[in-house]
Symmetry: C2
Subunit: 332 residues, 2 copies
Amino acid sequence: MLTMGDAKPATIYDVAARAGVSKSLVSLVLQRSPRVSEQRRAAVLTAIQELDYRPSTAAVSLAGTRSRTIGVVLDDFRNQWFVDLLTGLREALQDQGHRLVVADRFLNTGLDASPVEGFLSMRVEGIVIAGEPDTDLAIPASTPLVIAGGRLSIPRADTVANDDRAGGRMAAQHLLGLGHTRLGFVGAQSAAAVERLAGFRDGVGESAAVAVSSLAGELTEDAGARATRALLDEHPDVTAVFAGNDVMALGAMSALAERGLRVPEDVSVIGYDDTPIAATRYVGLTSIDDRSVEIGRGSGERLLARIADPDIAATETLVEPRLVARRTTARR
Amino acid sequence: MLTMGDAKPATIYDVAARAGVSKSLVSLVLQRSPRVSEQRRAAVLTAIQELDYRPSTAAVSLAGTRSRTIGVVLDDFRNQWFVDLLTGLREALQDQGHRLVVADRFLNTGLDASPVEGFLSMRVEGIVIAGEPDTDLAIPASTPLVIAGGRLSIPRADTVANDDRAGGRMAAQHLLGLGHTRLGFVGAQSAAAVERLAGFRDGVGESAAVAVSSLAGELTEDAGARATRALLDEHPDVTAVFAGNDVMALGAMSALAERGLRVPEDVSVIGYDDTPIAATRYVGLTSIDDRSVEIGRGSGERLLARIADPDIAATETLVEPRLVARRTTARR
DNA sequence: TTGTAGGCGTTATCAA
DNA sequence: TTGATAACGCCTACAA
């Protein structure tokens, strides 16, 4: 790592002086204006190099008409799905010259009441909320907003989310295709899980029996284990379990192991979200990929559209998920 | 979620006019100056409320002497250890009125050459680099810098990192305490792994035999599996395996399963980093907790000290790790 | 305790 | 194609 000495950051004045031009000229070069002679441009560019000049974002966004900044609110950095979401957002936004600023719900509490407050102070041009938005967030109607991956829809906000119902159907079809006829579902009373179950039932149709064990509360590993134990008590004959998400699927696998049931020889297990844990070879969990990259890209595009024209009608986009077959599901 | 109408953000002028005072007075109230009459303060505060006023961070940092912003560079959002690191950093920094801005190496590429470039443009007061820093990062000597969790030390940067050697010793003592005498290590040629192995050997001393299977390259799950196979081929009698990190430990467990060896009945396994995966009940991996929260807190404190006095000597802080015993290690 | 005025580093609007 | 000059929204002496 090189570390170069530098006392105070150079300003546009320094650059102008060194290049022997006016500050306006420097500004034009910075904005890649074509109406600058090659000669002057070169002079400015080398001055910038020599002085290690970097425009102050504060000054830029204060003087300019737009901040070129998008705020992304994550519910929790621990939920890894945001990684793919960001990838998609990047593709859609930063290539268009927008800067992404991410914060989880707790990042700057104490300074700002909420990450949204902070973003508004930064005069972001738009906000992406990843996941289920807090119901008490106060976002001015004038701020373009898109909910990525959440099911709760806000009047003036675009929504881009995984098609949970379609995912449920895919899980069903996968298991039916493997010859399973006695299926179980373990989940919780969350909006997503409810949709996934609905799709699952839909996909199963009359072809098989579905036993459901759904708990109130969180979709945790522990809940997955408890729900699975209850399921097995009631329906010891199930040969496949669809879990509301990957974490619950892990819990299900623990519970199955406790009963001496092997996965996938005795019971197949399928999760949802295709988290990194599912993708490890040690776990190798068959799962439904919610296509977070796509959700991110779609969210970014919607946001750009709304920034361009704030008055367009809000849309609701559903992204088709994809099944990733691994080691935990097998032919009956 | 409430969404309030608002066309253009209110400025300090609007607030001043509404409260019937000067902008300076408003500014004083914003800075919680005690030299303001209660009466005026109240008037300003209600005006702020009514106008939904929020100071522009751009204007604040441009006009003020300090940006009150710290940049945090993560190598990759997928490495979950940054979550705890941020928790520690928050405790140390944002309570002191500093705003945290996080970026991984790719977040704003295309706009800035690197996240560091972006931070310098924001005129951050300090930078925290999480993990191993890129060797070609150009950071002005005038910017306070601390490397959190990296072993590579930079001349003028403070370093706060996990004591890998101590962690290795702990792993050894744990296994010896459980009665194991034929130990294996699977790792890779990374700085961290080398230290961990050194500590491991140190902790074992003359009490047991250590077989090493260390590959070149990355510390991946797959490498862990390959290294473990090689280890078992050479030393089929090992009863415990210490892996360079949790991901490799997962690979080790896969390889053991392939050979029909049960964990922990036949072979104990211990990882390093105490990642979320290790903490799941399904995996239940005994691991060394590198105390990322502590590293974050320590990094924040060092950074504050360096911001207060840029000329203090750089320090190197080692944080004592902690062993977390779970299901994958058992008495011989 | 409160107000006035200048400046922070840019962009934007005019002239030249 | 270039250069003055006025904003942008706030902080900070300095004055009152």
